[in-house]
Amino acid sequence: MAERRTTLSGRSAVPTAPGLGGHVAAERPPALAEHFETLEQQHGVNALGMLVFLGSELMFFGMLFTVYTAYRLRYPEAFAMGSRHLDLALGGINTAVLIISTLMMALAEHSALRGERRWLPRYLALAILLGLLFLGIKGLEYYHHAQEQLLPGFAFSFSGPAAEQVQLFFLLYYAMTGLHAVHLTAGIGVACVMLALAWRGGLLGAEHWPLEMLGLYWNFVDIIWLFLFPLLYLVGRP
């Protein structure tokens, strides 16, 4: 076949026009990535991207929540027993810690928007410190569990009936809080990077956008904990 049929519809139905947001380099703000037209588009893309990402994260946790719920309905006494072995005080403190850290993150965003160069790094640092405190307390809880021989699969011994199901409770507990801790750690890591940027005067005003993305993520991690805590710690407690 020598020549394909020529375009019968004549000119393309899509007349090209000199581009909008033309390619004069000097007009493009440095923060604008080259495949975007405007900063507004870039911000919209990042926000939507973060939301879609959080949607998929919700399904990760959702799956574990579903399995947990299924077994809690099936073994209510065993799960209540397991839950009573969790440290309600430490868990409660951690909940407060995380909520306050989210508040710090919100205050950080607020200062960034208002261009408050001194306060932004402070609030960010506080959020990070509280996040680390959360991880520390969680680690302490895990340490206590290990001492009480409550590590499923590795060192688990539980006297009493339904030990198998209590072990299942603890496996799910570790899976869910562990997944949460991994997410929090990632958030802390990103926050540290942002802290470094903020220290050098970045992320202020129109450039606060990455911080807002981190804020969305941080809120998500907090909200997940707000579901984890009652589900795990408050079973069978009057």
């Binding site: 000199p18 080259e34 893309v45 799956m63 399995v67 077994y71 198998e164």
Partner: protein, 538 residues
């Protein structure tokens, strides 16, 4: 501006050379090529496993291999084909290449994430291949418990890890597409002006983002159970094997819509291009894609009608399964009607598209058989089901993929493939496919169970026919492999729009420049606005 009046801009493929420029690229078109090479290699591996299986099944007794080897082969075939070929193929190859072009953008929303997706995919594939070549996996691609957690002695955990890792690649690709289609459309390109391929990719991406995580965590729990011996899905340790099935199929059913929706999108494009008119009922077809994605989340239980589920649940899943078939039926009728009073060019891509419509119709109709509870009791876990899903996956999706490759080959490579060979290969694939899989419907209804290494002699004639068909099918697949490669050096140069098709991708050179368009496109017309004439009466 026709590409012949301006000096052609440097193509994305030649603007820079060297391995680094390819392995560190963020150009969606190059990433699409990287995926194309990877999944072709994986397809060949999965196909080799199938070839060995079909040769073994020529005789009722186990002649060439022992039971354990056969079990590993069907597991490898399923895992590779599902997770490492069918789910990625059209989205990562054709989708990655075309989404920005079709919406008039310079790249996807997150180009570096796109590259990361490919590396993640390769990492997952590496784990999987390592598991396969250091002992294999024999659980089937469905990993049912407690066999996978407590009985199989093969490389289950590495295989699970491979799938888990590659799942992130799916999620990130889906995320990229959703955001790109939402936010980076050219001015004037409203939702109902989008090409149907993009509607189907959008629906696919929603499923990828929401369903894949569920599979990921399920596989993690299976691995944990296997390693720690804590009962999650093993009843001997207090777990519930049916819970595994629910969680597994909650992903794996929508996954089959991930596999077929992009193929449907390609088919719509091909039919429009080769009938030289818009598809019949554009809006219905577009919204049907969304309906399939939504309804697809509600029917997973139809894989479990004999598994011990309650009768009430079975009734609900049955009626929902009939419901999800309706949007697909709409598409089939619309595609058929699209041929009426068109101006049809029977080129290779259209042959594949017509093959898709025909074979998908048969496969989809047999899905209705399976949705009927009493029939499913008889034919589930038999070759009837195998035939059903191969009609859709191979007769449908793979043909759509090949059709799309042929249609967009000039755009991707700047070369034309040899049309005669294209037609010959399409015909070979069609005939070989039917001979391979139609006998499987029959022997399935007669009772031939699936995943059987040895079988009663009365089924042999069907197996022989099936293997004969498979050898023809293999030839049909090898042909494009050869002539596509040859066309890279010896194929005729392609113009910007060799098919005379609408769509923004044809408004730039073949192959496109690195940033896709010289001038930013603006859309002012409806999609598929081919010229038409008044209907001739009579």
């Amino acid at each position: 501006m026709s590409a012949t009046t301006l000096p052609a801009p440097a193509s994305y493929a030649t603007v820079s050379y060297g391995l680094r420029s390819w392995l560190l690229t963020t150009d969606h078109k190059r990433i699409a090529i990287l995926y194309m090479i990877s999944i072709t290699v994986l397809f060949v591996i999965g196909g080799l496993a199938a070839t060995l299986m079909r040769v073994e099944l020529l005789t009722p007794g186990g002649r060439l291999m022992d039971d354990a080897t056969y079990n590993k082969l069907f597991s490898v075939h399923g895992i590779i084909m599902v997770f490492f070929f069918l789910i990625p193929s059209i989205p990562t190859v054709l989708g990655n290449f075309l989404v920005p072009l079709m919406i008039g953008a310079r790249d996807l929303a997150f180009p570096r994430l796109n590259l990361a997706s490919w590396y993640i995919f390769m990492l997952g594939a590496a784990f999987m291949l390592w598991a396969i070549f250091t002992g294999g996996i024999d659980t089937g691609w469905t990993f049912y418990t407690p066999f996978s957690t407590s009985s199989s002695t093969t490389k289950v955990v590495p295989a699970l890890l491979g799938i888990f890792i590659s799942g992130f690649s799916s999620i990130l690709t889906g995320l990229n597409f959703i955001v790109t289609i939402h936010r980076m459309r050219a001015p004037g390109l409203t939702w109902f002006r989008l090409p149907l391929f993009l509607w189907s990719l959008y629906a696919t991406s929603v499923i990828l983002v929401l369903a894949t995580p569920v599979l990921g965590m399920t596989l993690v729990l299976v691995a944990l159970e296997r390693v720690l011996h804590v009962g999650i899905f093993d009843p001997a340790l207090g777990g519930d094997p049916l819970l595994f099935q629910h969680m597994f199929w909650f992903y794996s059913h929508p996954a089959v819509y991930v596999m077929i929706l992009p193929g449907m999108g390609v088919t719509s494009e091909l039919i429009a291009a080769f009938t030289h008119r818009q598809v019949f009922g554009y809006r219905f077809v577009a919204l049907a894609s969304v309906a399939i994605a939504v309804l697809g989340f509600l029917v997973w239980g139809h894989h479990m009608f004999v598994a011990g589920m309650s009768v009430h649940a079975a009734l609900i899943f049955s009626i929902l399964s009939y419901l999800v078939a309706i949007p697909s039926a709409i598409k089939v009728f619309n595609w058929t009607a699209s041929l009426h009073r068109g101006a049809i060019s029977l080129d290779t891509p259209l042959l594949y598209a017509l093959g898709f419509v025909g074979l998908f119709t048969i496969g989809g109709l047999t899905g209705l058989f399976l949705a009927a509870l009493a029939i499913d009791v008889h034919v589930t876990d038999t070759y009837f089901v195998i035939a059903h899903f191969h009609y859709i996956m191979v007769g449908g999706m793979v043909m759509a993929y090949l059709g799309g490759l042929h249609y967009w080959w000039p755009k991707i490579t700047g070369r034309l493939y040899p049309e005669i060979w294209g037609k010959l290969a399409a015909l070979t694939v069609f005939l070989g496919f039917n001979l391979t899989f139609f006998p499987q419907y029959i022997m399935g209804y007669l009772g031939m169970p699936r995943r059987y290494h040895v079988y009663p002699a009365e089924f042999q004639v069907f197996h022989v026919l099936s293997t004969a068909g498979a050898s023809i099918l293999a030839v049909g697949y090898l042909l494009p492999l050869v002539y596509f490669l040859l066309s890279l050096w010896h194929g005729q140069q392609a113009t910007a729009n060799p098919w005379g098709a609408t769509g923004l991708e044809w408004q730039t050179s073949s192959p496109p420049p690195p940033h896709n368009f010289v001038d930013k496109p603006v859309v002012t017309s409806e999609p598929y606005n081919y010229p038409t004439r008044e209907p001739a009466h009579g």
